[in-house]
């Protein structure tokens, strides 16, 4: 099963709960993009030094905020990575973080494309 890069329903939900304030939702997404980059950097550092425990928090954070904006594929990769990191042993951590990077790049492109299309 392949999850969609971007789930339109999450975006619609954000729009709905903010009273259709499109400008604000765009700002939220920018906040997400900036924060996601920071979390990915932290994951990169943790993976490079083989510190599985240090992967848990950024993976968790990226998982939950990605879910909020509807970046479903990225959310799923983060969920699996977080669960693995909690066991304390992630031999392929660098590879998995690279997967996250790619999924994030896709999500980012999709979010910005959706904005440009409006």
């Amino acid at each position: 099963m392949t999850l969609p890069t971007l789930d339109q329903a999450a975006f619609d939900h954000l729009l709905e709960i903010t009273g259709n304030d499109l400008g604000f939702v765009d700002e939220l997404i920018d906040t997400y993009l900036a924060d996601a980059s920071l979390q990915l950097e932290a994951m990169q550092v943790a993976a490079s030094s083989g510190d599985a425990a240090a992967l848990v928090r950024p993976a968790h954070s990226l998982k939950s905020s990605s879910a909020n904006v509807g970046a479903m594929a990225l959310t799923d990769i983060c969920r699996v990575l977080e669960a693995a990191a909690r066991t304390g042993d992630v031999p392929d951590a660098l590879e998995r973080v690279a997967d996250c990077d790619r999924a994030f790049a896709d999500a980012r492109a999709a979010l910005l494309a959706a904005r440009a299309a409006r």
Binding site: I17, F24, T31, R57, S64, A67
Partner: protein, 368 residues
């Protein structure tokens, strides 16, 4: 309901921004913290405006939600602050753990405003109720402490019974005045005037101090209501304000104990050349009791024919003699040993009064 002040604790800027916006939309003001330690610092800052509700993320750097919650619940000043846990959809286990630790409620991260409003308001009402409850308890405790302090201060100036009456429920009605049968005891000393003229003033004061202390202790032991002390004499009564069905016998019991105790004190003074003797009069009858005096100086006092009679009997009594009125004798007969001591013509009484002289208590002393 008026808007409250909500502290949003979440390390993810996206979540903070969204919650702050949603809270503002429903009329609440907000403060934010990126981790538990930052949140605790803000909550413990006395200069900061108090927070009504905390929205708390679980997974955070520095100090996570669990540790923050545990710290809040262990802090007396912050224990009652409602904490609503913000959780992702797959964090149900964590939510259960937080509720067990004392969290008030939980919310999903992207929450519909109606649900956010309802949960926040429920938690705020709960907190207001708890605050009110706490304030009421504090106020009651403070009032009780004040009453206790006043009562203990009053009891140094008044009879303990009168002090207790002042702060009792029916105190006002009792103070306003009431009729009741009481037994009154008067006592004073024979030869006190000549003693105070011949002895050194320091000696007189020293004697009075010892005499007052000894007699005062006996009055307290017998639960008499002391109306006044004046030099060598004092008046005490029974059956008011506290009811004492055996008031006549109690008064006689006190008189007998005083006579014995006084004999010990007097023998010390006799060695120094001063002969002092006590005389006691007791009468039973109806009196009007309550607040007597004038604004600024009231006493709890008694007025009645029996009181005058007790005073006259005390003057009439010879050295170490306890004279009691017929009505006292009738009431206490079974408890005391007394003999008729003839009829006396007393000042202010048109007819002679039959009196009895008490030799002691018939059985174990009453009232001790």
């Amino acid at each position: 309901m008026n808007g409250g002040r909500v502290l949003v604790v979440d390390d993810t800027p996206f979540n903070r921004r969204l919650l702050i916006r949603l809270l503002a939309d429903i009329g609440h003001s907000t403060v934010e913290a990126a981790d538990g330690r930052e949140a605790l610092t803000m909550l413990r800052d006395d200069r900061a405006e108090p927070v009504d509700v905390v929205l708390l993320d679980i997974v955070m750097p520095v100090m996570d939600g669990y540790e923050t919650l545990a710290t809040l619940k262990a802090d007396d000043a912050l224990r009652d602050l409602p904490v609503i846990v913000i959780s992702g959809v797959d964090e149900l286990d964590s939510v259960v753990r937080c509720i067990q630790m004392g969290a008030a409620d939980y919310l999903p991260k992207t929450v519909a405003p109606e649900i956010l409003r309802a949960r926040i308001e429920a938690s705020m009402s709960q907190k207001r109720f708890r605050d009110l409850e706490r304030a009421t308890v504090d106020e009651q405790r403070r009032l009780l402490a004040t009453i206790d302090r006043q009562r203990s201060e009053l009891s140094r100036f008044l009879s303990p019974q009168v002090a207790a009456l002042v702060s009792s429920e029916d105190g006002e009605a009792m103070l306003a005045g009431h009729r009741r049968e009481i037994t009154t005891m008067f006592c004073d000393l024979r030869n006190f005037t000549s003693f105070s003229e011949t002895a050194e003033p320091e000696e007189v004061l020293g004697f009075l101090r010892a005499y007052h202390a000894a007699m005062g202790q006996l009055i307290v032991e017998h639960e008499g209501t002391l109306e006044h002390f004046a030099g060598d004499g004092f008046m005490t009564f029974f059956n008011d304000p506290v009811l004492q069905p055996d008031h006549a016998a109690r008064a006689v019991g006190l008189a007998v104990a005083m006579r014995e105790r006084f004999a010990e004190i007097a023998s010390d003074w006799r060695k120094r050349g001063h002969v002092l003797e006590i005389g006691i009069g007791i009468a039973t009858g109806y009196a009007t009791l309550g607040r007597i005096g004038f604004e600024g100086r009231y006493d709890y006092g008694a007025i009645g024919q029996a009181i005058i009679l007790a005073a006259r009997l005390s003057s009439e009594a010879g050295p170490a003699e306890i004279l009691i009125a017929p009505r006292t004798y009738a009431a206490a007969e079974d408890a005391i040993t007394a003999a008729a001591a003839g009829e006396r013509q007393l000042k202010g009484f048109s007819r002679p009064v039959e009196v009895y002289a008490v030799s002691g208590m018939a059985i174990a002393e009453v009232g001790t």
